[in-house]
Amino acid sequence: MLGFALSLIATLLHAAFIFAAAPLLMGLVGKIRAWALGRRGAPVWQPYLLLYKLLRKSTLVPETATELFAVWPVAAFLAISLAALLVPSFCTGMLTADLSDFITLIGLFALARAATVLGGLETGFGFGGAGAGREILFSIFAEAALLVVLLGFVLLAHGATVDGIAVAFATQHIGISVSLGFALAALLAVALTETGRIPTDNPSGHLELAMVHEAMVLEYSGRFLLLFEYAAMLRLLLWMDLIGTIFLPFFMARADDVLSWPLGLLCWVVKLGLMVVILSLFEISTAKMRVFRVPEFLGASMLLGFLAGVFLFVAARIGL
């Protein structure tokens, strides 16, 4: 009974933290990018101001849109929120642990993507169509890479839920392994594509020049745009949580052990900070790729994930 209550509180805390911290993360990334380039940059709480501004603006619906115009932002926001709730952040063993199967996560990503793409095709103008076509192209290789990388994790952890993988990696002494190194490289490539960062998409400002994410939400305004922007921030936090949970599962708290929570929270903050710094420094050191280089980039990461699986088989002492 006490364990259930503690898990419930942990789950609620997790929800509160991720919903509150997502814009802060985006702001931090922008701030560190600016510092690295020698500028002062916008304040760290700028995304909160953006969201508040969108909340207070009126919502315009284009005349050529259909009745489902409002459905797509809500669907995308819900799918990403569900995924963010399922991925553990500072503790494992929350109430949603059994639901957090990795393939369910992949499915929720696909749902969010489908909703965004259909939102882009709503008004029937060229920007949305171009963005939608490119997003579908990137998603094809990203999903294949993600599945192949997942195989490696499932084989090592003997379980397919993110929670289970985190617990297994934290308790087993896997050590540094070539397979996990390749899997990390592949997962980072997919994460960069899914969150729409350099080198696959240009996340700065609201320019639709890169014609991927911004082009699809071009026609949205007011609270619908709020939902899309918030979903993008949640997506960044969600992917950082995922990478942190799988590859840096040290000192994660247990949901039914209150005394481990402070350490878990501290480690979560440190992990996120580390990843924010690495992401910012990486973003300022490369340029955005040409569109048709991205499938090659993702295809190479899929093949790296495949290699991770192969080396796992070699190391596990299997005969022919």
Binding site: A114, L118, E122, G133, I136, L218, G222, V314
Partner: protein, 547 residues
């Protein structure tokens, strides 16, 4: 009594037959209500399918199968004469493989013949290129039943023989052949569904992809059963059967909708549709449900089968020799590619066809569907709800079938439960709604599209210039450049046409020429033939006696 002299026909229903009959029943009702009930050939088609499913002896099975083929060929011929010849060739080939196979004892040769015959009829690669040509030809009700029902009957024949009748001689490599054929179907079907322009052809290519998924599941189960792995066999069988159930619901719905689109707009080419959601909201909503199933989106009917199948392949990659493991890892990558391509095809179908602006005046003037088709599609949609929201329950209903096919199989509970996810979603929605109501600005305002500042279109183009809209070809162009150029032939045709059909046509032509040569033989040549035959017979007799 009809049937073989002295034996008659035997009918019997076991768990497998009941499942497939139950699969077929809503489709038959829907097609009949949607306008096919007056056609005698349609009912002959239905009779053939039911006979094949309820058969207890091989004669009834083959009789029903061929009746089904013949009736559907007549319906295809009436719809469009061009694919009819190709279709009947494949039907004859399929029959020619099946008929000897049912008389052979249990062996690998029998399995291969059954695989060729039933696989050709189901549209398994590399014998799949007839399906996207023949399925779009007849009226929508028949297309629905062909894609949703006839391929299921072919798969039923395959399942019954591979798992039950030929079980004493089973080998692990049988499953591997099925898996390879299935992966080919998935890749080519999903890619072509992404690139084709006609709505019905897109749906037919998606059928090829789903048949491939079912075949991969069956292959993993067959291999696991031959190697004595009960958990994997149960998991893979669950995946294959649930995929068949789900496909049998959303594919007929989509086909009926495509028929209605053609009826209302006059064309079913995606490049000439657009904005149909405004004029046909009921059809649009139903097509959206069907497309959610086709794309295997979570909280939709198609996700649970995909979930189970991916877990089955991951489980298969966790055991076995290194070559098998590498193969299963590669098949996992290919399944991921196929799933994402299917998502793209479904999104293209809804986004280009139903959203956006009308590309022709007919598309703008389309009227919503009548009561008959609405009832038919609504029935299928209502039946999709339990598969989408309570897949665990549906799997429990499927357990007797799984036990019949693999008696030692174990069926673990499903790890994907949509109802808690839905509850969580409602909670988040409630919270977000509260925030937006309390602090946000209410209501919306209509305004012209931003479109980067291009402004309103001129008055003589009421919906804007159709050329400024993304076309179906344009949407698929990045994928065509990245993948299509590698996998398809130079003019974006199916590779099976070049590598399977064209050589077979050449062989056929040579055979026809030889037959013509024999027919025109002179009297001297015919005498020579009889003489040579006599000499050979005497030689065989002499050698046989001497040895």
């Amino acid at each position: 009594m009809v049937g073989l002299p002295g034996q008659g026909m035997h009918l019997q229903l076991d768990a497998l037959s009941l499942l497939f009959l139950g699969l077929l029943a809503p489709q038959i009702v829907a097609s009949a209500v949607a306008g096919m009930r007056g056609s005698v050939t349609f009912w002959a088609f239905v009779l053939g399918m039911v006979l094949a499913l309820a058969a207890a002896d091989a004669f009834t099975l083959i009789f029903g199968f061929e009746l089904m083929s013949a009736a559907s060929w007549l319906l295809v011929l009436r719809g469009d004469a061009r694919p009819a010849t190709f279709y009947v060739t494949m039907a004859v080939f399929s029959g020619a493989c099946l008929i000897p196979a049912v008389f052979l004892p249990a062996s690998s040769v029998a399995f291969l013949l059954i695989l060729l015959g039933a696989g050709a009829k189901a549209g398994l690669a590399p014998l799949h290129s007839w399906l996207p040509k023949a399925h779009p030809a007849p009226p929508a009700g028949v297309s629905a039943l062909m894609s949703g029902g006839m391929v299921k009957v072919a798969l039923y024949v395959l399942i019954r023989y591979a798992f039950i009748i030929l079980a004493p001689a089973q080998q692990p490599w049988w499953g591997v052949v099925l898996i390879v054929a299935g992966l080919g179907s998935v890749l080519i079907g999903a890619l072509r569904a992404m690139l084709e322009l006609e709505l019905k052809t897109v749906l037919a290519c998606s059928t090829v992809e789903h048949v491939g998924l079912i075949a991969v599941g069956l292959g993993v189960a067959l291999r696991a059963k031959a190697m004595g792995d009960p958990i994997l066999a149960g998991l893979a069988l669950q995946a294959a059967l649930l995929c068949a159930v789900a496909h049998g619901l959303f594919k007929p719905l989509l086909f009926l909708g495509a028929g209605e689109v053609k009826h209302a707009v006059g064309t079913s080419s995606l490049n000439w549709l657009g904005g149909l959601m405004r004029g046909m909201p009921r059809l649009g909503g139903l097509m959206l449900l069907g497309a959610a199933g086709m794309a295997a989106l979570p909280l939709g009917p198609g996700f649970a089968p995909e979930f189970l199948l991916l877990h089955a392949v991951i489980g298969a990659a966790a055991t076995g020799g290194i070559l098998a493991r590498i193969g299963f890892t590669a098949s996992l990558a290919l399944l991921g590619l196929g799933a994402a391509l299917a998502l793209g095809a479904a999104v293209r179908l809804i986004g280009i066809g139903f959203l956006g602006r009308p590309r022709t005046l007919q598309a703008a003037a389309a009227e919503d569907i009548g009561r008959g088709p609405l009832f038919a599609m609504g029935l299928l949609a209502v039946l999709m709800l339990p598969v989408a929201l309570l897949p665990g329950l549906v799997l429990q209903l499927l357990t007797p079938v799984v036990m019949e096919l693999a008696p030692a199989a174990q069926t673990p509970p499903l790890a994907y439960v949509p109802v808690p996810l839905l509850l969580l979603g409602f909670l988040v929605l409630a919270a977000a709604g509260f925030v937006l109501q309390r602090w946000g600005v209410r209501g919306t305002r209509a305004a012209p599209s931003w479109n980067g500042g291009f402004g309103a279109p001129p008055p003589w183009l009421p919906f804007g210039d159709p050329l400024t809209q993304p076309s179906a070809t344009g949407f698929a162009e990045p994928v065509a450049r990245a993948i299509g150029q590698g996998l398809l032939t130079r003019d974006m045709a199916d590779p099976a046409e070049e590598w399977v059909v064209a050589p077979l046509l050449r062989v056929h032509l040579k055979g026809v020429r030889l037959a013509e040569r024999i027919r025109r033989a002179t009297i001297r040549e015919r005498l020579a033939f009889v003489f040579v035959a006599l000499v050979l017979f005497l030689l065989a007799l002499g050698l046989g006696e001497g040895g």
